[in-house]
Each structure stands twice: as structure tokens, then as C-alpha cells.
Amino acid sequence: MSVETSRAAIVGQYKTTARPIKRRTLSQAQERGKWWRFVLILVICAIVLVPIIAVVLLSLEPSLGSTARGVTLENFGKIFSETSVGAWLANSLLVTIVTVVISVTVAAPAGYVLSRGRSRLVSGYSLILFIVQSLPVVTAVIPLFILFAQIGLVDNLAGVTIIYVGSTMSVAIWMMAAYFDSIPITLEEAAWMDGCSVFGSFTRIVLRNSLPGVLSTAIFAFLLAWNDYLVAVVFLRSDQNYTLQIGLQTFFQQNQTNWGLVMAVAVVMMLPPVLLFAALNKYFSVGGIGGSLAGR
């Protein structure tokens, strides 16, 4: 595949103008099997979502030792009033939001260089990013634990945030670069002619037109930080510093697990990423990573 067509493919991901044409040409033959496919995908969805539906249903059932009948929100009241779930939720939100902000701020300029720069050094940087992405997190976690223990970052939310920012870097930079590729450089060149600095053209022209790219990167960073388990389980030691991921495990220590409460915490845990995705999924594109990896 030539450079131009691969570029066109990347651009194509963000261009919706090609769609109506495709729909019209494909639809005629497809109209027939439409309902058959609808049923098929409905069945697949139902099977695939069983574990998630189970979580929601169980969280609404009266828990052990409860007098309530039928559907109840009692479990949610209980976890917030009787356990530290509220504090853990606040910790998770804090860590995740800080990670998202720092990660986008750092990745955007780096992605810009990856998108516009064409020197040997830039290719080298791209390779480094790929290698970093392939490193096992366990390898990094052990030495960082030893290092962070010396500087007081173990059992500290700042410590895990730093590690999350580090682990988002490669993919975040690729995502930003993939989006910047779809913005024509002529706009910046015109600005440079008018005496605008590189930084000025980056913030005022490129970044201002990159909301979908920024959102895509932010969603990715959000998911990574919110869903992490390994870093949190190693670094967070005391109850008041737990994120929800670690906090949930404390519910399993009793002889008999109170599934109603566990599933209520699980619902609290999956709600933010699910809502975020439901609202912004049209901006989220992992396909760009591929183009970004191969394009340079």
C-alpha cells in the first residue's frame, strides 16, 4: 500500500463525507437480510452482556439479612453509609481526572512532533514508544515500588497517578498524532508566513481544531486509569487511600460474600466509564493507532 493511500485511510477515519455514498451502494442487496441480522446481533448481544446484566440485577436485589422485597436501592444506601465506598470513589475520580489532564497535556505536543516531524530522530522516538508499550508493567512496577518507597510515594495517590500517566503515554501520543495527521499543514504554514511561532500555531490552529482527537485520547487515559488493578494493588496499602478497584476486594474477606453489596459497588465502579463511553463514543477511535504506528 502506498503512502498516499494509507494517509487517505487515516484521513478517511475522521471524514464522514464518504459514508452516504457507501450506504447507498451497499444497501440494496442488504435490505433483504436486515431483520435476520438484527435478530442475530440481538442474540449475540444478549449472550455477551450476561455478566454485565447480572451485576446490575444483583445490585438491585435485597442483600443478605434484609427485610426488603423486590427491586430495591437499599444496597447502594448501605455501601455509601456503612463502608468507605464514597471515599474510594473520590480517590478513583481524583486519580483518573488528574491522569487524563496531564496525559493529554503531555501527549498532544509530542503527538504533534510525531505527526509533522520527518527526521530520523522522530522515527527513533516512534520506535521507542512502541518498545515502551510492549514492556510488561510488572517489570516497571517492582523497581518503581522500591524507588517510590524511598521518596514517600508508596501508599500515595500521587504515586499511582504518575505511573498511570506514564502508562498512557505511547497510545496517547499515537492517538494525538493520528488526529493531527488529518489536519492539513497548509493552515500552519500560512500562520508561519504571518510570523506566528510554532507554539502559537500549534495551540491556536492545530489544537483548536483537534477536539475529537483530544477527546479520544482523554477517553483512553480515563479508561486506563479508572480500570487499572495491578498498579493500585501494589502501591496502595491503607484503607483511606484505596481506589474502588482495591476497595471492592475487601468485601470478599467475610466467610459469606454479600453479593448484593459487592454488585452495588461494581455498578458504582462501571457507571463512570460506561456513561462516558455512551456519551462520547463517536469521538473514540482506536483505528487511528494503526495508521499512526505504520505511517512513520
Binding site: V11, I21, L135, L144, F145, V165, N227, A278, S285, G290
Partner: protein, 320 residues
């Protein structure tokens, strides 16, 4: 702006900035512009570079050195040469974990790819409420793995759980999804495919979206069957994205810790232990830092070599 002019601009971008030898001798002004560019670019890259050095390069070097010592999490210990590696390579647990890592990765990559591609093809066609299904099918990937592992545990872990009860009712006998070593391996692999297929679906959807529809029209005119169209046109057209998605998923699977650890903890009798889980339990449960780091470091070396080779391969595929 038309697509042509965008491509033209990108072509210019590719050959222009930061690249000497674009044919014409550069003017003084041009040269100065390039200089300011490269200086600005250094500042653009610097923050991310510092993070990568601190959080990736430093730990890897440290791990490499620590794997040659007999220390623990608190003290550096004495230099013992390659003893940690030799000791580890001689244990059957290591080779078992290495073997299961390969199986887990192969099933994870190709299982999730096949399902992801199938769904991407299905969702590409016009379906009532297609957009809703697209979001619903992404949920396994979006939901935190802690939640899904908890839910799967509830579904399969004990004989009183729903799935074993269902199996009993269907006359399959007492199915122990997580207590039987082989079945636990299957369950863990299925779990990984369940988590990963939405990622593949997204990758394949965007690859399919960039295939020129005229090609399908032409093949239909020439009388190609659906099967021929898929094998001869669709697959080759998305081969580059497929290749990249396999590589990324391989990395994700080899490095995956939580989906195994939370579901089985590596058990029963270590049957579902992968190298990552083994490294974790060696360091944080048996407190043998040296051997644990040695495992992680061996994985690192193998992955870096594979990553470098594959990276060059991707670029070669891209150029042809």
C-alpha cells in the same frame, strides 16, 4: 476542502518539515524556520521523554541490575551473577507458565480477532438500532476488569453458581469451571477473548470503513461470490490493520495480569499461571525479588526483540 488537497498537504508535510534534501537548496529564511522548528519540537517532546525515561527506562535498567542480585524489596543484596536466571529456568513452574502464556496469547489474539472481525462485518451492514448495538458490544472492554472478573466469578466459581447449575440441569454433570485445571485454563482464555473482542471490533471497523466501496461494486459485476469477495478483497484490503491489531493484542495478552489474577489467582495448582502472574507472585507473595525480576526481565528482552522486529515489519508492509 477536498480529499485530494488534504492528501497533497499531508504529502507536503511528510517531505517538508525537518527534512533536509527535499531537492531545492534551502534559502536562509527556510533554514532559520527549520531551526526554530527543531528547537520548538525539542520542547514539545521533552515532557513525554522525561516521563518515559523516569517511568520506563529507569525501571528496566534497575530491574536488569536487580535480577543479578539476591536482595529483597528493602535491601539491594549481594551480586549473584546469573544465579536467579539459572534457578528460575530450572523450575517446572517457569516452563509451565511460559507454555500457558503462549496458549493464552494465541487464543486471546485470534479468538478476539475472529469475533471482532465477524461483528465488524455484521455491524457494517444496515441494521435497525445498529448504533446502539455498537456501543453495547463495546461494554466488555469498557467495564473495569475488576467488575467483570467479579461477575464471572459469581457466574461460574462455585457448584451453586448459575452456569454450573445450568450445566447440571442439562445433564453435563458437575462442571467445575475454575476448580478443574484444564477447564480453568479454558475459562481464563474465554474470559480474555470476551474482554478483548470489542477492541478488535473497533480496529476492524475502522479498517473496513476505509476500504473503497467501488471495489465491491466491481467484484459484484464480475460475479464474485460473497465468500470470494471476503477472501480475495476484504481480507487483503484490511491486512495491514489486521497485522497491527494482532501485534497490539499480543502485547496486551502477554502483559495481562488482572484478568488471570482476579479470576483464578493463577490456580488451581498453578495451571493458569502466566509469566506475569508468576513474576508478581514471586516478588509480592514469596518475596523473592531477584528471581521475580529475572522472569520479568527475560519477558522484557523477548518482548523488546519481538517488538522491534515487528515494528520494522509493519513499516515494510506499509511501504510496499
Amino acid at each position: 476542502m477536498t480529499t485530494e488537497s488534504v492528501i497533497g498537504a499531508l504529502k507536503k508535510a511528510r517531505s517538508g518539515v525537518g527534512n533536509a534534501g527535499s531537492g531545492k537548496p534551502a534559502s536562509e529564511r527556510e533554514r532559520r524556520r527549520r531551526f526554530t522548528h527543531s528547537r520548538a519540537f525539542v520542547f514539545f517532546v521533552l515532557p513525554s521523554l522525561i516521563l518515559l525515561v523516569l517511568l520506563n527506562l529507569y525501571p528496566v535498567i534497575y530491574a536488569g541490575l536487580q535480577s543479578l542480585r539476591n536482595g529483597d524489596l528493602l535491601s539491594a543484596g549481594n551480586f549473584v551473577g546469573l544465579n536467579n536466571y539459572i534457578a528460575m529456568v530450572q523450575t517446572p513452574a517457569f516452563w509451565h507458565a511460559a507454555g500457558f502464556t503462549v496458549v493464552f496469547t494465541l487464543v486471546g489474539v485470534f479468538g478476539s480477532w475472529a469475533i471482532g472481525l465477524g461483528l465488524a462485518l455484521l455491524l457494517r451492514t444496515r441494521i435497525p438500532a445498529g448504533g446502539v448495538f455498537k456501543v453495547l458490544l463495546l461494554l466488555p472492554w469498557v467495564v473495569p476488569v475488576v467488575v467483570s472478573a467479579t461477575s464471572w466469578n459469581w457466574l461460574v466459581a462455585t457448584p451453586q453458581s448459575p452456569l454450573p447449575v445450568l450445566a447440571q440441569a442439562l445433564g453435563l454433570g458437575n462442571v467445575l469451571f475454575l476448580a478443574d485445571p484444564t477447564l480453568a485454563q479454558v475459562t481464563v482464555c474465554v474470559f480474555k477473548v470476551w474482554i478483548s473482542f470489542p477492541f478488535m471490533m473497533m480496529m476492524m471497523s475502522s479498517a473496513l470503513a476505509s476500504v473503497d466501496v467501488n471495489v465491491y461494486e466491481a467484484s459484484k459485476v464480475d460475479g464474485a461470490t460473497a465468500f470470494q469477495t471476503f477472501g480475495r478483497i476484504t481480507l487483503p484490503m484490511i491486512s495491514r490493520s489486521t497485522y497491527i491489531s494482532w501485534i497490539l493484542m499480543t502485547i496486551f495478552c502477554v502483559n495481562d495480569f488482572p484478568s488471570i489474577f482476579l479470576l483464578t489467582g493463577g490456580g488451581p495448582v498453578n495451571s493458569t499461571q502466566t509469566l506475569v502472574v508468576l513474576a508478581y507472585s514471586t516478588v509480592f507473595q514469596n518475596f523473592q525479588t531477584g528471581p521475580g525480576v529475572a522472569i520479568a526481565f527475560m519477558m522484557t528482552i523477548v518482548l523488546v526483540i519481538i517488538a522491534t522486529v515487528l515494528y520494522r515489519q509493519i513499516r515494510k508492509v506499509n511501504i510496499e
